[in-house]
Structures are given as C-alpha cells and as structure tokens.
C-alpha cells in the first residue's frame, strides 16, 4: 500500500520534472542552459524507464543521451562561441499560433490515448527484459530476431559519418580541379560568392 503510494508520488514527480525541463529547453535564450535542461529532461526520462521495469533501457539512456549526446551538444556550443540565440524574440502572433498548434496537438493526442485499449497496458505486467535477452535478440537471425535492422543501422551510421565528414571538412581535398574555381565568367552570378564566408572569418583574421 505504502509502496504503491510512494511509487505513484514518484511517478508524478518525475513526470512533472520532465515536462518542466522540456519547457525550459525551448524557452531559454541561452544555449548552454537549454543543453543543461535537456540533460535533466533526458535523465528524468531514464527515471520513467526505470519505473517501467526497463532498467537496461534506463541505463542506456543515461549512457548514450546524457553522457554522450548532451556532452557533444555542449562541446558544439562551446566551440562555436554562439552562447545566445541569434534569432529575434518571437512576435505575439507567432507565440499565439505556436501555442494554439501545440495545445491542439496535446489535446488530440491525450484524447486519443485516453480511451483506447492498449494491448501491452492491459496485459498488466511489463514484458520481460534483461540485457542478456536484448543482446541475444539483437543478433538473432531467426524469427523475432533483429539482426537485419542491426546491420542496417551500422550502414546508416557509416553513411551519416561519411556525409558529416565531407560537409564539415575545412580544406578541400588536394588536386581536385573544380574546388578552386571562381574565375570563370558567369560563375559569380550563378553561384553565391564567397563574401558571406569572408565576412564571418574576416573578423577573426583582423
């Protein structure tokens, strides 16, 4: 009895914390604060997972999201020196439209979920899950296994990494004749000149 009461209180506390932290992420104008609030929101989500008996998932959530991704975001914020949003304050009209759309989405999704029979919820208990089982299922090539999606994800990560490197690479690879152009007639009007880039880097150089 007391255990379940504590459980309920804990659930609402964590849920309220998640919502407040998520609101903080989108409402603050300081990027670093948003990142820290995001870290909090992801941690409380891990708490929700743990309360649903998905301890492995909670651990992975903390390791990957809180420990990895948010740290990466903090790095990106620090390295780009853009501590604040450059965007103007949203106008009242934009705020109103945004509020109407998000409240409408909230109402319809809560309304949809409220009265529907969820098979997993009505089963009464969480499906069994431990790290050993998850690991086996991930590499199982029989029915109910996940080896194909597992391999597809590895391809996806490789492709994303390659694309990221090519776009972020600072100097063009040597010896490619078409990366040093810009002197041909007609090119300047078709392709945007480098002036914007020069403006950005000009300050640092001088």
């Amino acid at each position: 009895m007391i255990a379940s009461a504590i459980y309920t209180v804990l659930f609402y506390a964590i849920a309220a914390g998640t919502i407040l932290l998520a609101l903080a992420v989108v409402n603050t104008r300081k990027l670093l604060r948003a990142a820290v609030a995001l870290m909090g929101a992801l941690s409380t989500t891990a708490g929700l997972y743990a309360m649903l008996d998905a301890q492995f998932l909670a651990g992975v959530q903390v390791l990957v999201y809180v420990g990895g991704i948010v740290v990466l975001i903090v790095f990106a914020i620090m390295l780009t020196r853009s501590g604040e949003l450059l965007e103007d304050n949203p106008t009242l009209k934009r705020k109103l439209v945004g509020a109407v759309i998000s409240i409408g989405f909230l109402v319809s999704s809560v309304g949809a979920v409220w009265g529907s029979p969820f098979a997993i919820a009505s089963a009464g208990k969480a499906p069994a899950n431990d790290a050993l089982m998850i690991g086996k299922a991930l590499l199982d090539y029989g029915p109910g296994g996940f080896v194909v999606p597992f391999e597809v994800i590895s391809l996806l990560l490789l492709a994303a990494m390659l694309g990221g490197i090519v776009i972020a690479r600072k100097t063009p690879p040597t010896g490619q004749p078409f990366t040093s152009g810009g002197d041909l007639p007609g090119e300047a009007e078709v392709y945007h000149p480098l002036s914007q880039r020069d403006d950005e880097t000009g300050g640092r150089a001088s």
Binding site: G111, G115, G145, P149, A160, G163, F178, Q196
Partner: protein, 478 residues
C-alpha cells in the same frame, strides 16, 4: 539467395570507399566504374532472385511488388551515377566550386539505395523505420554536398529539420500502433479495431508519408531542397526519393492498415486533388528549372496516390508502371538539365531559349521527356496516367478524374513553356553549350528510347501487371 542484390550494393559501396583511398588522382575515375558495375550487377541479381521467399525467419521478405521496387531503385541509382560523374570529376565547362569527394559521394549514394531496398523487404516496424532512415538521412548530406554554396547548405539544413519532423510523426504513429497490438509485425495491425489511438496513429503516419512523398500540405521543403542540392541529387531526389515514399506508403497503407484502405479512399482522393492542383498551379510562376521540377514532382505525387483508390488489384500495377514511366521521363529530362547546367551554368527556364537550333538532338530528347511527363500519347507518361485515372474512375471518383484532367492541361502548359523556349525563341546570345559528354549522351539516348518504348510496347506493362495483379489479394486476405 534473396538478399544478394542488397549485399552487392553494400559491398560495392564499401569497395568504392576503400578504392577511393588508394586510387591516384588520375585513376580517380575508377570509383565511378566500380559504382556503375556494382549497380549493373545488382540489377542482374534482382532479376535472378525469385519473386517470393523470405530469409531470417521472416525478417526479410521478397515479393513481386518488392522485386519491382528494387529493380526501379537500382536503375535510378545507376543513371544517377551516370548523371553525376561529369560534375564530380570536374569534366564540365562551367566549373562548380565545392563539389567533390567522388568516393564518398558514391558510397553515400549506394547506401541510400540499399536502404530503399531494405525498406520494401521489411516486415516489421523496426526494420521498416531503420531502413527508411538509411534511405533518407544520407540524402541530407548529399543535398548539402556543394559545400561552398550557401544554398546547398540551406537545402541540407532544411531537409534535416523537416526530415526529423517527419521521422517524429512516423515514430509516434508506429509507437501507438505497437502499443495497441503489442507486436512489431506489420501484419499484426491489420486486425485492429478502430479506436481513437488508432485514428491518431493513422493521422501521424499519413503526415509522415506526406513529408516523404511531398503531398500538400507537407510539401514545403521540396522547392528549397531541390534548388539547393547539386543537380544530379535533385534528379535522384525526384525519382528515388519519390519511389521510397511510394514504397513506404505501400507498406503502411496496404500491409499495415490494409483493412481500412477503403474507408480512407475519400481522404486519399482529397490529398491527390489538392497536391496535383497546387503543384501545377505554383509551377506556372517558377523561373528556376530546379524549383520548377520540384513542383512538377509534387504534382506527380498527387497522381501516384490515385492508385490507392478503388479496385486495388488494378491500382498496384498501375502505380508501379507509372513509377517506371516517371523514372524514365524525369531522368531523361534531368540528363538534359544536368548537361546544360554543367556546360553553361544556366538554371532558369528562359536560359533554354534556342536550344533546338544549337543542340537539336538534346532538345528533341528533352521535349519527348516533357511530353511524357505531361501525358501526351503515345509516350509512357500518358499510358501510366491513363491506368491511374481509370483506377480512380473505377472507384467512383469521377470528380477526381475531372480535376486530374484539368491538371494535365495545366501541366501541359507548364511543360510547353520549356518547349517554347527551346523551339520558338531566338538562340541564347551567350552562345551555345558544348555537346554533351558520352555519359550524358548515353543516358539521354537510353532513357528517351525507354520512355517511348514503354508507351508503345505493351510488354512492360504486361510484365508488371502479370506479376503484381494478385499481390494485394494475397496481402489482404478477406
């Protein structure tokens, strides 16, 4: 072995990546040959695989529709490589800054093709979603490949944001359906009773498909992304990405929620009508050829989804055939656009003036492709549209066929704008473009022949029809 085509594509991608490390600048062209050879062998492997069968205990299944989709994806990839090679290896008159890294480019391109092929073979939500991401996330990078052009960066960024939004919608929908069924199998959802959560999930999934397939009102990203992306990637987006969206819609609307597809006919018809009309009407005022092609692609999305109406057994082969005709026509047109942009750097419709005098064969090919897209008999685009219109009419949506006919007229006006510049206006004063390279010549010749033959010879439609006419009855047992 059923997965052979996918394995060949992936192995080719890896081989290209490794070969790129060791090839000297003079031999860098080798990665192009490797990609072309790999895709040609993969197309052969698709032919060699049977039209039904499953692997890994049902995780990976091939059926007739998946077989055709895979063939189309490999073909579009092959011709995209042919369209890209001049630009990537710097063999163009109009040098383009910031596009390079051919090895990585082909690798990423091949990975997206493998993702599309896995998508049509998926039978559970996990593989479906993961392969959809493999087919789209690398495209964000390809759209931003012209690193020193801010428009390309803008295209990449917009595509990332919209793609993430679409993924969020799809995941929310799939998550709700998983909650309702307790199973990840796509087939499990078909027995669901209608409940508010199910309708909500269906709405989310429709929105997600709308983004991928550029249905109005989810089309807003298309024009900017098409304009900013490198030209061959614009071509690839308008054919392969559209094919992926269609395959994804097949998976969700037929396989997963097939029991309701009749109830949603009116909604699909409304989407089709709005998408066609808006795409065609906005295309009237476009001047940039890439933006024009974006709105052309949007209006064609409206035509595609007409196949989801009505007596579905006929809708499936009609959509597949139209996809084939659309791929041939669009890529043939893009071969001309890529060539003109490579040689002169010109990208507006006005710039095509007088092309028939300076480069008559290229102008003829482009005109045929434009007429096929507009749906002029006897070209393949007409035949494809005819089948789709008759599906809609058979389902009782005569008003939709009327709207579609009006739209075909508007589309014809749009496409004739380019033909008029090419054939009636005086020659561009800045001089003619250099003749097309062999790769673009071959692409144009092959695809133009294909788009004519597809319309005249019934063999191709018969082949598609014969193998897929019974597909839907097998997927949706009554």
């Amino acid at each position: 072995m059923l997965m052979l085509p996918e394995i060949i594509v992936v192995v080719t991608a890896m081989a290209v990546l490794v070969a790129d490390l060791f090839l000297t600048e003079r031999l860098r062209m080798g990665v192009t040959w490797l990609s072309l050879a790999g895709l040609a062998v993969a197309a052969g492997a698709v032919f060699a695989t049977p039209m039904n069968g499953s692997m890994f205990g049902g995780q990976f299944v091939v059926d007739a529709v998946g077989w055709w989709f895979k063939l189309f994806f490999v073909i579009s990839g092959f011709f995209t490589v042919l369209l890209s090679m001049d630009l990537l290896h710097g063999r163009t008159t109009c040098r383009m800054r910031g596009i390079g890294s051919p090895g990585e480019y082909y690798t990423v391109l091949l990975f997206t093709i493998s993702g599309m092929m896995y998508l049509v073979s998926a039978r559970d939500m996990v593989l479906l979603y993961v392969s959809l991401e493999l087919a789209t996330i690398p495209l964000f990078a390809l759209a931003a490949w012209r690193r020193e052009d801010i428009r390309s960066g803008e295209a990449g960024l917009k595509y990332v944001i919209v793609g993430a939004l679409a993924s969020a919608f799809i995941l929310y929908g799939l998550g709700l359906i998983y909650g309702l069924t307790g199973q990840i199998s796509l087939d499990a959802a078909r027995v669901l009773k209608g409940s508010p959560a199910f309708w909500f999930a269906a709405a989310m999934l429709t929105a997600g498909i709308g983004f991928k397939l550029t249905l109005v009102p989810f089309h807003l990203w298309a024009a900017d992304v098409f304009e900013g992306a490198p030209m061959p990637i614009t071509a690839y987006l308008s054919v392969a990405s559209k094919g992926t969206g269609l395959a994804f819609m097949f998976q969700l609307f037929f396989r997963m929620m097939g029991g309701w597809v009749h109830d949603w006919a009116l909604m699909i018809a409304l989407f089709a009508a709005v998408t066609m009309t808006l795409g065609n009407c906005v295309a009237i005022v476009q001047h940039n050829i890439k933006r024009f092609m974006a709105f052309s692609a949007i209006s064609h999305a409206g035509v595609f989804i007409m196949g989801f109406l009505g007596p579905h057994d006929y809708g499936v082969p009609a959509m597949l055939f139209y996809l084939l005709a659309y791929i041939a026509s669009t890529l043939a047109l893009f071969a001309g656009i890529v060539w003109y942009s490579n040689e002169t750097g010109r990208e507006t419709i006005r710039d095509y003036r007088g092309l028939s005098r300076t480069n008559p064969l290229m102008a003829l090919a482009m005109m045929l492709a434009l007429f096929s897209l507009a749906g002029i008999p006897p070209l393949s685009g007409f035949v494809g549209k005819f089948f789709l219109f008759s599906v809609a009419a058979g389902a009782g949506f005569h008003w939709l066929v009327g709207i579609a006919a009006v739209n075909s007229t508007i589309a014809l006006y749009n496409y004739l704008r380019i033909v008029r510049e090419m054939y009636i206006e005086p020659v561009h004063e800045d001089g003619p473009a250099a003749p097309a390279s062999w790769s673009l010549s071959i692409t144009t010749a092959v695809l133009t022949t294909a788009l004519v033959l597809l319309g005249i010879i019934p063999f191709f439609y018969n082949a598609i029809n014969g193998s897929t006419i019974a597909w839907l009855s097998a997927v949706l047992p009554h």
